[in-house]
Amino acid sequence: MKRILFSTAFVCIMAMAASLLLNTPAETNPSSCKGVFSGYLSSEPSNLDPARGVDVNEASIQAKVFDGLVRYDEKMKLVGNLAESWTVTPDGKELVFKLKQNVFFHNGQALTSSDVVYSLDRILDPAVGSPRTWVLEKIEGAAERLRGESSRVAGITAIDDYTVSIKLSAPFAPFLSLLSMPACYILPSGNAHAISDRSFFEKPFGTGPFKISERVRDSHIRLTANTAYHGQKPRLARIDMRIIPENMKAEMEFESGNLDMLQLYPANYERFKSDPDFAARITDVPSLNVFYIGFNNQSAPFDDVRVRRALNMLVDREKIIKAVYQGRAVAANGSIPPGISGYTEGSNGLEYNPEEGRRLLKEAGYSKTNPLTFDLYQRSAQSAFEITRLLQGELKKHGVVINLKPMEWSALKDAVSKGEAPAFYMSWFGDYPDGENFLFPVFHSSNWGSGGNRARFKNEEIDSMIEDSVKIQDADRRSEAYSRINRKVAEHAPWIYLWHASESYLTSDKVSNMDFSPMFFCDNALTLSVKE
């Protein structure tokens, strides 16, 4: 009897202790998070709101501060993040997510399904004006929400505090991938007020492995480890992300030992590669990207497909790749990069062919006395000039006159979104490793502007081809469908397809375990560590 009482008491006490421990954010010994990583961004993130951020600088910070339901790990595998597990109905129209419990926002507030519902619903809230509504458009009730007919998206429901159900209006295979995007990061619904007047986003917080402890615009953003993180704890104590728009400055800082990482460009790649001290620490990442010259397909002179095709044929990509990238890039014959479903090998009919190109231009009405002349908008960074000046020179030899219009990155984004730029030099970095991400956002007519379709391309046949392809459940057949669309879009040449470039990074000898997956910019720096 005594023994039973004693052991029961023991168990009860243990149970109580355990529940006490479980119901507060468990603080690990702070000294297990060690070291400071000094990184940098090439421009001040203009908007840390996941619903509105559209570039890699913003995503870089968001990925460390917020979590989504799912994420892609270093091996490019889709794994659960805030979602512990999920099930998909056989007809592919409903996904039910079971959230992890004991997850806390940086302010101590616990994560529940209401936060998930709030965050996802917000993307489709017309008052928010997100350019990424297409991410969640396939959810039932999305259209009504966008039109303002309902105050909530019908298809997103909280079944209980830790279970969320998402119903789609039609089966949509890439949906889980879309949920990994920064747009779907989870925000604290308890701060809805600050979020709606945007003051929240000066120093936003989420459930992520790092918190923003300091932010000085145009100077730096300081991230400290969230020791109460729900997953594997971050190994770093702090990340300093400085804002350094000048490559030369970043290079000097790296050489002085003030930065732990440097993105290499054609200007400095060879110098570091030929130095044995540095060469071993260079990582070439075949990134998910495509570089292109976009046209405003809706206005002259680029509303004429002959002009667009001609320009593709007048650019000798291989020559530039060889000279500038020294083989670290692959000529693009479509928008989808190698290694991704839908990548299409072989010719797309737009290879370098100056005679044909000149003939097409002549047909379109241009000649020596009436040369094709246009403004090319670009970033004011020297690395952009490297390419645009070469293109300008090359096209001049074929009688095309380009005027370069450099501007700062956010000004460029705005000009392009508004359709002010007849031509622009830009790139598209994939949000997830699926060909659909290189087709739908950039070529579907519903995404004009900052949604992704900067070229204002519109083709009804291609629109429906894209819409049909995402309904295919079988991965291989879907890939074939993407490939066909890729080819078809190339026929219309909405861009000058340039190349898919590897990104190269140099790390200092302090750094270990820096994961350079192709989606490195979205890395949440969990495994990263530095020697003291």
Binding site: S46, G129, V216, R217, D218, K249, E253, S256, S410, D414
Partner: protein, 316 residues
Amino acid sequence: MLEFTLRRLAATIPVLLGILLIAFIVLYLIPGDPAQTVAGPRADAETLARIAEEMGLNQPLHQRFFSYLKRTFSGDLGSSAVSGKPVLESVVEKLPFTIKLAAIAMSFSIILGILAGIISAITQGRWLDRVCTFFSVAGISIPVFLSGLVFLYVFAVRLKWFPSSGFAAENSLMPFILPAFTLGIRSAAFLARIVRSSMIEVLNQDFIRTARAKGLSPMRILFRHGLVNALIPVITVIGLDLSSYLNGSVIVETIFDLPGIGRFAMDAILQRDYPVIQGIVLLGALVFILVNLLVDLLYAWINPKIRDEMLGKLAR
């Protein structure tokens, strides 16, 4: 002295108004909708309408100017089109860095400049003078961005004597030394020439010859009589040179990564943040006018002869 002060102040006021007028007009000359220019390209329709109303775009021009004057004098220099932060607040935050930079640069320039000027004046015509003169010409001829880049590379990156940026340098002076030196060289060169000619002029004057005849030691002559008189024009020059510090700080703060006003201006220019640019240009002009006013008053107070001369000029 009082009359002089009053007249001098009276001359300042129209200049002040004129500057405000120019700053006011520039905003309207920028192509595009002025409200959009102030609100920034990322503002939504609501903010745009609010700002258009604030600016009173439907009111007649002179009324808009008056409300602009009122706003400016109450300290409202507008808000950044990029971050929404009030311009004055950002300026106050960043001013200490630029002031530190300018102060150290000025110290460098005064010490180097006066020293070089004196040496030149004493050894007038000989090789030392020629060398100093050449270096002072070179000092004002080499573009600040070039010398800045070279110094940064040699002393900060290669030799590592100085930090290569102003980041993480909370209260130390180290990150300011190199940029201040770059800025200061220019002023030093300028000063050296002025000091040299001023000293030569003074040293040739009668009272110096008298002192020498009296048998006073050369050093004493130099310092007590020569230097003090020669330095008077230097004060004016320093005042006039102040503008060059603001210009120089734009380039130097960008190269050396110091979060001061110059860098703030540069970032605003790149981001087309017009309210900030307008605010900084205005402040720069105001500071210049103020400093010159003070210098003139100081100058007149020290030397009554000059005061009368200047008074005569003002009265005309």
